[in-house]
């Protein structure tokens, strides 16, 4: 039973953060594409802006690893 809950907890940590990252990147990506169409010189800023929400899923991954390692 513990293994089940540990797995579900780790999965939720990834799922929640991945969905949040995906939602944020979809909004930022669309805005960045629109901005780049008018100002191509903003490409670096655009790449950075798109990469910023990835922190969430990476931290989610770290939490999932901690749950699995500490719980298991």
């Amino acid at each position: 039973m513990d293994v089940l809950w540990i797995s579900i907890g780790a999965a939720l940590a990834i799922v929640g953060s991945a969905l949040a990252t995906a939602w944020a990147q979809s909004r930022i990506g669309a805005a960045a594409a629109a901005a780049l169409a008018e100002k191509p010189e903003l490409r670096t800023t655009a790449v950075l802006m798109v990469a910023i929400p990835e922190t969430m899923v990476i931290l989610g991954f770290v939490i999932a690893v901690l749950i699995v390692l500490k719980g298991g």
Partner: protein
Amino acid sequence: MIIPMARVRLIGRKDELSQALVALQDAGTLHLATPADDVPRHAPSARERRRRRDLERALADVDGALAGLRALDAAVDAGGAGAAAPAGRAAWLAARVRGRTTAWARERQALTDERTALAAFAPLFAELEALIGETGARRLFTVHLLRLRGDGATTRRLREVLARTLGPHELRARTLPDGELAMLLLAPAARAADVERLLADAHVESAPVPLALGGGTVVEALARLRPRLAAVDARLAAIAAEAREVAERAGPTLVAARRGFHDELAELAARALAGETPRAFVVEGWLPAAGVAALTARLTAAVPGVSVAEVARAAWHSDDAPVVLRNPTIFEPFERLTAMLPLPRYGSVDPTPFVAVFFPMLFGLIVGDLGYGAMLAVVAAILWWRGGARGWAHDLARIAAAIAGYTLLFGLLFGELFGDLGARALGLRPLWMDRHEGILPFLGLAIAIGLVHLVLGLVTAAVARRRHPREAAGRGLAALMMVLIGVVLATLMKLLPGALFTPALVVLLVALPVLVVLEGATALLELLTTVGHALSYARVMALGTASVMMAMVANQMVGAFGGAVIGVLFALVFHLVNFAIAMFSPTIHVLRLHYVEFFGTFFDPGGDPYRPLSRWSPEPCPEGP
């Protein structure tokens, strides 16, 4: 690093201003600035304004003429020395050449269109010629050129109707470039009226003979097609020859004129930045401090009456000075990465050396595999071989070589060769850490590197702001607090003796209000952000673990798909995919760690690029003298 700049002031007789500006253009080292507020600015005269307008118009003509010649495949060597001509004659010549190239371009376009239209009919006319040759007697036949839009069924129906009504006839079809179907109908002359009626009933229109062939009947047009095509080709060749002749004759003059007009416009713009009194002029500007003596010697030799004096450092603001970056050769390629952000302000810190050290290191830490490192080294060698002595590819090759070196080094330390293939096939063992087994130590290492990186940034900021003691103390204290936070975390994780916990915590609590006093309440928020940034380095562990796991999955494909050959192929493809991901993902994330987390501690953007007054060149001016 940002090289030290000096501000110099030139003072001379007003009538020597032009001479001084020409000497400055020749020297090509002074970035002009407006003189101090108490010096009246030069007001452009009506003559100067008119001259500027004339030059701009002449320059537009020269550019138009050269572009026109280029469009006619008669390009002029833009970097050639060129023969100088009086400005007025050069402007007249430019306007004339521009007019002729415009007319030629228009005529060439019309001829090309006509040639395309005639070429579309040529195969059909060739068939007509053959058909008439076969029948032998032109007068006994009526010829129709038809144009039909529709599918195969339409053509089939027309053929059936013609066969039923006309009896013996010839019908040949060809699809034109615009998708329409051109048809040639050859019928006995006695049935001409029937043919006309039949086509009218079937709503099939006769295709007009191309206008270029002068109208008339198809048979008449046939006689004129070949001569017209030859005439078009001859005229196109003549235009090309004339354009080449003009390019050869006028090209050098135009090239020289372009350079001269640009230089004169730059001089007029520089004149507008000068200050002047009824008898004297003042010009101020920036140049690398090491070049002051050379400029002074050059100017006083060219214009003996001009005095050059360095403005005291206390009399100018850092924010006004332009920025020139100069780094050791080994760091230079990494300027490409920092150039993606705005230039740092003068007086702040050039982040290039930090990027040159930490970018390849963090990349290597993430990928850390002997196999992928070797592949990267091959990529670097190819880029080096194909990239020439300079340019993007050459710099990319040097960056790739650096990251390949670190990837190989960490691959050796982690004992990874295409994931666990080295361990399984060659008995390779980690010299330092097994990333597959030691995820938590790897996480600790990533965050520790983040702490060191950020502390380095805060210390750099403290040193850079040494002229502002309060700010420098604030940054230094923030750095100390980050170290203490690291110590507290390390004692909690039993990596350091527990005895350090209490002293570190006490110092941390004492430092907190001091930081607020030095930098205000927002310093607390900044400190929390910096701690968050240190945690952001966990991505090094996340990406590294993902990379090694994917490599291991690729290795497990051997034997998982029945046949060994298929398994090996799948494994190879998966390793290639992992390698491709390993090129892009770590690059973006490591750049982001630099741009967002690390630069946030000390980077001060908004520097003004160094653009010295110099002779115009078709190539972009290199940064720096």
